[in-house]
Amino acid sequence: MKAVLLPFLARFLARPQSLIGLCVFIAIVAVALAAPLLFPKGPFAIVGMPLLAPGTNGLPAGSDVLGRDMLVGLAYGARVSLLVGISSTCCAVGAGVLLGAVAGYYGGVVDDVLMRVTEFFQIIPAFVLLMVLVAFVQPSLASTVIGIALITWPQVARVVRGEFLALRTREFVEAARLVGESDMSIIFRQILPNALPPIVVIGSMMVGSAILTESALSFLGLGDPDLMSWGSMIGASRSAMWVAWWTTVLPGVAIMVTVLALNFIGDGLNEALSPRRRQ
């Protein structure tokens, strides 16, 4: 494995964007992990007058409409964004890989049925479905994660199915069937490792888009009310947008930088994993 991994890392880091993206992402993860240690009072504690400009009263990022420390909010918001982004992507990739693999490997009727189900999810306006889902059950971290996974798994399923359709006719798969390997073993041990590159790339991109979706939900007030997220910070401060720019711009920049870093990583993975570049 080492022999495969090292050149891959070298190819990945050869692009400056990938390196920047990776560094920024690691920094955000570090902040998210350290937030409770750095700010033990939590993001909802009131620390001073509302709408203090950044740099006044010892608040480097100012305070929001209720007089809470913006910096603390940003740090805690990173926890929510990353948690939602990563866990919803894991759920979506898990479901998408499973259904896409089964559809692509077995083909025929199984494929037809599963693909119609996939299309059903793809033709419904995704964000509307998500809002209905989250509003229907209690808005909470779990409902947000499951909701986002539910609207994003079809794209993974389609990519995985395509890969499986192409790979299942390869001779090494026929050989595996002949020597008596079970279908499960062929799907997960023979084909899936060869289908991983596009899944990794699409997964890294999906984390970014899940963060955006979570922010939009929270902005509309459909996030978990007990958690401070970047989207809810913008939502709560939108009335003060004209008098206190930092209350909306800072969380907005945080979202943008995080998503950009993830997209840089995704592009870098794509370049490094594509067989054409490997030559």
């Binding site: 001779e171 002949l178 020597v179 008596g180 079970s182 060869n194």
Partner: protein, 530 residues
């Protein structure tokens, strides 16, 4: 008289980190006017790089280091891109191994030829198209094909279109890079005859690149043999082919399989595998469409222990479908596959798994037949592990089988990409032998290999067959290969068996016209059998 092309001391460097420093080194070659010169060599010999240098189309990363390329007395190696553009097509034209990749799939072939004419000469659209149609007629293509799209043509027709396109500007040199390698043997013979004919009519020079000595002996006036980027021998075709002076050339020619000397048929015994009336039709189109293609129609065969039965046929003859139907990678529509008394087609689940274990297969493509993400150890042990055999015993057998196929224990932790094509086929064979099969089905196991490697793998298959008393079903398009190792041969065409018999008898005195045609089309037969 001055030669048309003179390559003098040409060297091309490979990018650093390769297995050797030069793609080609100090190559000298003259191509006279209206002469066919062949470059022969195995893969990696530098024969294609030589042609690419002559065409100014070296791939990025390959740099000419020294030497000169003179065309009609003028050094063309250092000319600019614009000068190259004018020369290509007009002075030097090229045809390739895969015409499908060289043709535009969404443009009618006649228009593609006309487009090339108009790119170099000021002619009207209609006149160019008429000229294209004329050229296609000269290539033996029907007038109705002018407006056909590439996918509607057969491989041979596509190659004729490519030749028409190459000739459209009356080039003085035609470079043909393995132009018949992807074609069936009868089509290959027609295309070779066509190239010879147009070359003679137009007094054109041809540089023909091939790995096949049979093809070379059919077409070449002069032959140059390349090995690892260096030219080891060059001279008139008769001298090089009949009295090769270099040891490498001698070994290459010796490795070309002959039609004679095939093993005698075995005394008949109770068959181990008996197929009767096997049929398979591929249905295509949607629910409403009733179109189907016949892949197999009532095919029967029998195979006994220790025997090799060759299935010979051109592409589309159904030989690969036959193999896949026998092992049930493809489900047949009708017929019976009796293996050791049980009908394989009726077995399910557990009994099927147990029976399949005894019928194993070696595949054609050394690249796609091994999972690139698994080590050789994982690849060869997957079968026994799936059958729940104990780990230690499996590992011992894996080492034993790898040694049997000429690889050692050291291969176990390595990945397929670290091996050559021939070595990969050996790994594929080891995988098939791990389950101690009774029947081995080999589907074109040597067709992707160089001729010397081909000979080694064939000898290995024969050795394994004898040692393990295997029944072998050997599928090939190459009758020379079949003659080398098969006791009996079955000729197939369009899903049906044309004829069957002991190898020597069948090739010596074929009963059907089709077999006679196939035999007559074998390249270089006259010279190599003499």
């Amino acid at each position: 008289m001055n030669p048309l092309v003179s390559i003098e001391g040409l060297s091309v460097a490979l990018p650093p980190g390769g297995d050797r420093r030069f793609a080609i080194r100090d190559v000298n070659l003259q191509i006279g006017a209206s002469e066919i010169v062949c470059i022969v060599g195995e893969s990696g010999s530098g024969k294609s790089v030589t042609a690419q240098a002559l065409m100014g189309l070296l791939p990025p990363g390959l740099e000419p280091l020294g030497g000169r390329v003179l065309f009609d007395g003028r050094d063309i190696m250092h000319q600019g891109a614009a000068a190259w553009q004018r020369m290509r097509g007009r002075d030097i034209a090229m045809i390739f191994q895969d015409p499908m990749a060289a043709l535009n799939p969404v443009m009618a072939v006649g228009h593609q030829i006309a487009e090339q004419i108009r790119a170099h000469r000021p002619v009207g659209g209609r006149a160019a198209l008429a000229e294209a149609a004329g050229l296609m007629a000269q290539m033996g293509l029907d007038g109705s094909l002018v407006t056909a799209y590439p996918h509607q043509l057969s491989g041979g027709q596509r190659q004729r279109v490519m030749i028409a396109m190459a000739l459209s500007l009356s080039p003085r040199l035609l470079i043909a890079d393995e132009p018949t390698t992807a074609l069936d043997v009868t089509t290959q013979a027609q295309i070779l005859a066509l190239i010879r004919k147009v070359q003679a009519e137009r007094r054109m020079s041809v540089l023909f690149i091939s790995h096949d000595f049979g093809v070379v002996s059919d077409i070449a006036d002069r032959v140059a043999v390349m090995r690892l980027g260096e030219m080891v021998e060059a001279g008139p075709a008769r001298d090089v082919l009949d009295r090769p002076s270099h040891a490498y050339t001698q070994s290459l020619i010796a490795a070309v399989p002959r039609l004679s000397g095939s093993p005698a048929p075995l005394a008949p015994q109770k068959p181990l595998l008996a197929v009767t009336g096997l049929s398979k039709h591929y249905r295509h189109g949607g629910l409403l469409s009733r179109r189907s293609t016949r892949a197999l129609e009532g095919v029967s065969l029998s195979l006994q222990r220790g025997e090799t039965l060759g299935i010979v046929g051109e592409s589309g003859s159904g030989k690969s479908t036959l193999a896949r139907c026998v092992v049930r990678l493809v489900e047949a529509d009708a017929g019976e596959v009796l293996f050791d008394g049980a009908d394989l087609r009726r077995l399910k689940d557990r009994p099927l798994r147990d029976a399949r274990k005894r019928v194993q297969m070696v595949f054609q493509d050394p690249f796609s037949s091994l999972n690139p993400r698994h080590t050789v150890g994982e690849i060869v042990t997957a079968g026994p592990r799936a059958h729940g055999q104990p780990r230690a015993a499996v590992l011992t057998r894996a080492v034993e089988m790898l040694k049997l196929v000429g690889l050692g224990e050291a291969a176990l932790p390595r990945y397929p990409h670290e091996f050559s094509g021939g070595q990969r086929q050996r790994i594929g064979l080891a995988r098939a032998l791990m389950l101690a099969p009774d029947v081995l089905i080999a589907d074109e196991p040597v067709s992707a290999l160089d001729v010397t490697v081909q000979a080694q793998v064939l000898d290995l298959l024969d050795k394994v067959r004898r040692q393990m008393n295997l029944a072998m079903l050997f599928i090939t398009h190459d009758m020379r290969v079949a003659a080398r190792i098969c006791h009996r041969v079955m000729v197939m065409r369009q899903g049906r068996v044309v004829e069957e018999g002991a190898t020597a008898a069948l090739f010596g005195a074929p009963k059907s016209d089709y077999t006679r045609q196939l035999l007559a089309a074998i390249p270089g037969r006259a010279r190599l059998e003499a």
